[in-house]
Amino acid sequence: MALLPILEFPDPRLRKVASTVTDFNEKLEVLIHDMFETMYDARGIGLAATQVDVHRRLLVIDISENKDSPLTFINPEFEVIEGELSEYDEGCLSVPGFYETVSRPRVIKVRAQDQSGKPFEMTADGILAVCIQHEIDHLEGKLFVDYLSSLKRQRIRNKLEKEHKKSA
């Protein structure tokens, strides 16, 4: 059991594309457990393996206030069910302290495998749909700041780099 360090933008490792999970073993279970612990500790609602420098297609999510509804998605894929976009002020544990409005499809259908490798499907809307899309982006090396204007992105990059220098 351990808290994992979370990579922060503009760390280039956040840009790696993750590869498929093939081994459903004890090591994976430990990683999932640690990712939940790390996410809860950071008061996040979703965490992709990429953010803790593990480049495998795996994400953990819990959008409940009581932290009692953990969801694990392994090798997730989604299709858009409703093309209508909805806006949400997204934040990210890898871009701490910044919240910006991002538009994404409102309703999606997700296919993934659970911890034991069993495939499942679910339809998601609202914040869950936002969160799943946000996390799957991480697996592709993509961040929510990529949806912003380059000016805004640069501003965020500068501020975070300054913070990183200060704490280094």
Binding site: A42, I63, E65, G91, C92, Y99, I127, C131, K159
Partner: protein
């Protein structure tokens, strides 16, 4: 991904302060979250008490907030709201709010947030006494311009109106009387341990004591009842519906009144529900489907008559006109932040145009019911007076009822702390 309830609430409030979006639409995105209730309570409360809390904030920090710091101003308002109105222990409210300044990426404001909230805590007594000496708009937390309109229009009632606007609205249902009697419905929900009472004005109205999710209401998904304020439930009776009539509901979304019209009279020849917003039209469809009713849905701007009207005149037209919604502030407290005098002017013009256009679609002998959920006379009786002055073929039919205030050319329900209904205006016109 990261979210924070307090930062999210501050961002929603910030959007409203910048005149963007609406509280309902912003909150909708958070509906799936388990902290939704807390978020909702905070956002509603901050809007409801904004003008008062902002006055208090001004005593604690006189320096005005820059445009880019409206999120911070919102967060401080939220901090004060928690200290003054919520049952969160002070230390928790302050700590969480200070932490939320990080979430807004305003780490520099941690000290400021802490200082403002702690000085409120320390000087609470003096500040609250100062507030009691402040003018009415501050004390009752309303924009000044709106208070002066209301004071002028309703000199006897306006203080009661302001108080009522700050109350939590009742949870009112419309029983589907085509399925069962109101008493049968009351018996059914009583068996489900839901405490309720019958409304006094509308035959279909039921007030539920404790708000609850609609899924808990027996028979809701089968169409036994719908959520609707009692004032709106007075509409079908006033329309004097009989079999065979052609009816138009001109600004129909979300369809509550359309459905009620169809529940009241099952043998209309035509019932057209018109609305210009395609997304809101979907709401009408959902409501009709749940209640197993049928209407002809048209997506068009009522004013653009050629785009939707077949040329066949209607026996009854309901014009529930777009309005300031000043009668439903208790349900939509963001109106206090969003409504401006300029907007009010635009709405009055729009109402005028709709009245003019729809009047041409009414059969001689037919009735047009003009309603708004406003309590501003310029949108209501003044609007109708002007119309009557310009149309010789229009006759005002007075509404005999024991509710509301009788005006020169209509009947006005005012929000009041002891009565249940929203503020609402009705005027019935007959075409000669």
């Amino acid at each position: 991904m990261a979210i924070r309830t307090r930062a999210a609430a501050a961002l929603i409030l910030q959007k409203l302060l910048l005149g963007k979006g609406s509280l309902g639409a912003s909150l909708d995105l958070h509906r799936e979250q388990n902290d939704y209730q807390l978020l909702q309570e905070m956002c509603f409360g901050c809007c409801r008490w904004f003008h008062q809390l902002d006055f208090l904030l001004l005593q604690l920090r006189s320096k005005p907030f820059k445009r880019k710091d409206q999120d911070l101003r919102s967060l401080l308002i939220l901090g004060l709201y928690q200290l003054k109105f919520m049952r969160i222990p002070d230390h928790a409210a302050i700590n969480e709010t200070v932490d939320a300044s990080d979430d807004l990426n305003k780490r520099w404001a941690r000290g400021l947030t802490n200082a403002v909230l702690r000085s409120y805590q320390r000087q609470r007594k003096e500040l609250e006494e100062g507030l009691q000496r402040a003018d009415l708009p501050k004390r009752e937390s309303h924009p000044e311009w709106l208070v002066s309109i209301l004071a002028q229009s309703w000199p006897k009632q306006f203080e009661d109106i302001l108080t009522a606007n700050n109350c939590r609205p009742p949870f009112t249902l419309r029983v589907n009387l085509s399925m069962q009697s109101r008493q049968q419905f009351l018996d059914t929900i009583d068996q489900a341990d839901i405490k309720a009472r019958a409304g006094k004005l509308a035959a279909s109205a039921v007030y539920i004591d404790q708000p609850l999710p609609v899924s808990k209401i027996p028979g809701f998904f089968e169409g036994a009842a719908s959520v609707q304020d009692e004032a709106s439930q007075l509409v079908p009776e006033l329309l004097q519906l009989t079999p065979g009539l052609k009816v138009l509901d001109a600004c129909a979304a979300p369809g509550g009144k359309t459905c009620h019209i169809l529940e009241s009279e099952g043998s209309l020849t035509t019932c057209i529900a018109l609305d210009r917003s395609p997304t809101r039209l979907i709401k009408i469809e959902e409501n009709l489907e749940r209640l197993q009713l049928e209407a002809c849905l048209l997506c068009a701007d009522g004013n653009d008559r050629d785009s939707w009207w077949s040329g066949e005149a209607f026996d009854r037209i309901l014009l529930d006109a777009p309005c300031s919604a000043s009668g439903v502030i208790r349900r939509h407290p963001d109106i206090k932040l969003l409504l401006t005098p300029a907007q009010l002017e635009r709405l009055i013009l729009e109402q005028e145009r709709l009245l003019e256009t729809l009047w041409t679609c009414l059969k001689p002998g037919g009735l047009l019911l003009y309603t708004t959920c406003s309590i501003v006379p310029q949108e209501n009786q003044a609007q109708i007076n002007r119309f009557l002055g310009q149309h010789n073929d229009a006759k005002y039919e007075s509404i005999t009822a024991d509710w509301g205030v009788e005006c020169e050319s209509g009947r006005q329900l005012l929000p009041s702390a002891d009565s249940g209904t929203d503020g609402f205006f009705f005027s019935l016109l007959r075409k000669l």
